[in-house]
């Protein structure tokens, strides 16, 4: 996978930086995902992660998101239904992050 799978757009006006992820997030690329999250959180006290176009994500991604939420205010954009929403509910990540659903 190329690095374009995780894109970081800088903070604009009042909006926090946004990390847009695409495709599958698994053990193979979770470090890369983690790095982008850390970079985004480095000079902002809030970040948004857009998972709308993520086709698959597992425990590894949930861990990375918890880790970044430990130091930063985390906003998530996710599809309203499907495995990602289920993962957020099971793990309780939806209770420490602000979740916005997209149909």
């Amino acid at each position: 996978m190329t690095s374009s799978q995780f894109q970081l757009s800088a903070a604009e006006a009042e909006q926090p930086p946004v990390v847009t992820a695409m495709g599958d997030i698994d053990l193979a690329n979770v470090n890369e995902f983690s790095d982008v999250l850390t970079r985004a959180a480095a000079d902002s006290d809030a970040i948004t992660v857009d998972l709308s176009d993520v086709t698959y994500c597992d425990s590894a991604a949930v861990r990375a998101l918890f880790a970044v939420a430990a130091t930063t205010k985390l906003g998530l954009i996710v599809p309203a239904t499907g495995t990602i929403m289920t993962l957020l509910t099971i793990s309780g990540l939806d209770r420490v992050a602000t979740v916005t659903t997209r149909d």
Binding site: S59, V62, R63, F66, A69, L87, I90, S91, G92
Partner: protein, 249 residues
Amino acid sequence: MHRILERMQSDLLDAVGLAITVHDKRHDEHPSVLADLGAGADFVDAQLAGIGGPVPDALAYQVPVLSLDLWTDDRWPELTLAAMRDRAPQHESSWEQVHGAVAVPGVWADDATVVVCCTLSQPAGAATVASLINYEQLVSAALITTAAENATAIADIITVLQSRGAIEQAKGALMGLVRCDAEHAWKMLRRGSQEFNVKLRELAVALVEHISGAPAEQPDTGAPITPDERTREAARLMWAALSETPLPQ
């Protein structure tokens, strides 16, 4: 393991209870608590007994599980303060303190998983999860090392945890019969299980039932242990052989 838990306790200032639960599916075992601090073991046993909670969910889905307020969490409607008071009234003051909880799973061998969990007097946060993820890695590393050094050690530990009651009863009976200490009785049980090629916990149950003619103590969680005919025969032979051995004077 206890040392790791003590470090966790000094790290997580709001911790009320801590526990490490292992599940080794290779031996067809049910999950059991390997080590705990505070009211950790009772907390985990209750969840595994069917009430549900962060630990069984972490095991089942292999994701970290966080709860802000455990007793009112809508994911586990049966896990309430009242239910825990009923099950383990001796820890009532602990249950009253508990608000948040976190459970973090890990895999330390094929089909062998571990869950590190804590209950907190404050709502849990993502930082608690991040901290437990670090400790889970430490625990998994310790389990891998132990397993590498002695493949049977962990299976043995789990066996004892699973069926402490029956094994203690069987050890007690052997100690009385052969006039030996607990360690010697444990070795006899292990040797018997190896020689007859039967599961240690089933042999313990069969021994107790053979001697007493009454059902042995069964584990609190998981399926009851019912020894097959071969194991019962092994227990009869073992008891008969030991009964004939003259007592050391």
